[in-house]
Symmetry: C2
Subunit: 173 residues, 2 copies
Amino acid sequence: MYFITGNKGKFEEVKSILGNVEQLEMDLPEIQSIDAHDIIKAKLLEAKKHGKGEYIVEDTSLYMDCLNGLPGPLIKWFLKTIGNEGLYKIADKMGDYGAEARTIVGYSSGEEIRFFEGSVKGKITEPRGTGFGWDPIFRPEGFEKTFGEMTKEEKNGISMRRKALNKLKEFIG
Amino acid sequence: MYFITGNKGKFEEVKSILGNVEQLEMDLPEIQSIDAHDIIKAKLLEAKKHGKGEYIVEDTSLYMDCLNGLPGPLIKWFLKTIGNEGLYKIADKMGDYGAEARTIVGYSSGEEIRFFEGSVKGKITEPRGTGFGWDPIFRPEGFEKTFGEMTKEEKNGISMRRKALNKLKEFIG
């Protein structure tokens, strides 16, 4: 079973949950979509061209209520242009801080692709702390800290990725 | 010479300027980027796999000052989620209505790809009129009407696409 990612941290989390999995670095094209399912599906179909096997691809993105779900999988382009400061400014000006951190995991073992989802609701805040990507502006519901202010252990404890992977683990059995 | 598009209106405009050009409908994957050059380049490389020839691909997008250049080539996803109303609301809440309508034309005749650009500055307004995509919220500088309120002739008269195509025409000679 291969988890396709260039991100060592993500791989470690996946391995800690699924156990029997190997990291596979593969430069897969990312199609344009706001539906993570489409992006993952395209990647899995491309990955399968390289050989038979079980492949896992995931997408973890930030969905803002005031933007009707944007940026979603387009988050990296928002970070490149307006950054966390800009994302916070939009939520603040729009007067709606609601957001969701959502992981979609796609699993392909042959013909079929199955998807598993995990999400965490929260609020967009002024950037606080460090961490990856939009971590500093996302404060999960029921917590005072943003993802950017949490330790790796704290963050993994409420991880949307873990929720999605647990569902995949149950499916694989 | 082939202009790759599924849009008859765009093709008519291109033909009226370049003359000797045929429409080619080809379902090319659109990679994720905020740089239209990257998207066009990927399409031209894909198109060339189908046979030798001269290919033209264009991208016309809306770049908003208050979003530091977004949505750019990601405009279609903004329209799908928040629509013209949402784009106007962002500009209004941010207090910055500046925008640019920009066409990038990519031309490939063999190994090399050349790019030609045309742009029109303007303002984001409340949606007025009809027309394609973001036409109703873009009012070009020096005009009272939005693109959505203009006739085809009025719009073509100040077209960023025409500006880019004229440069290509000059290059081809």
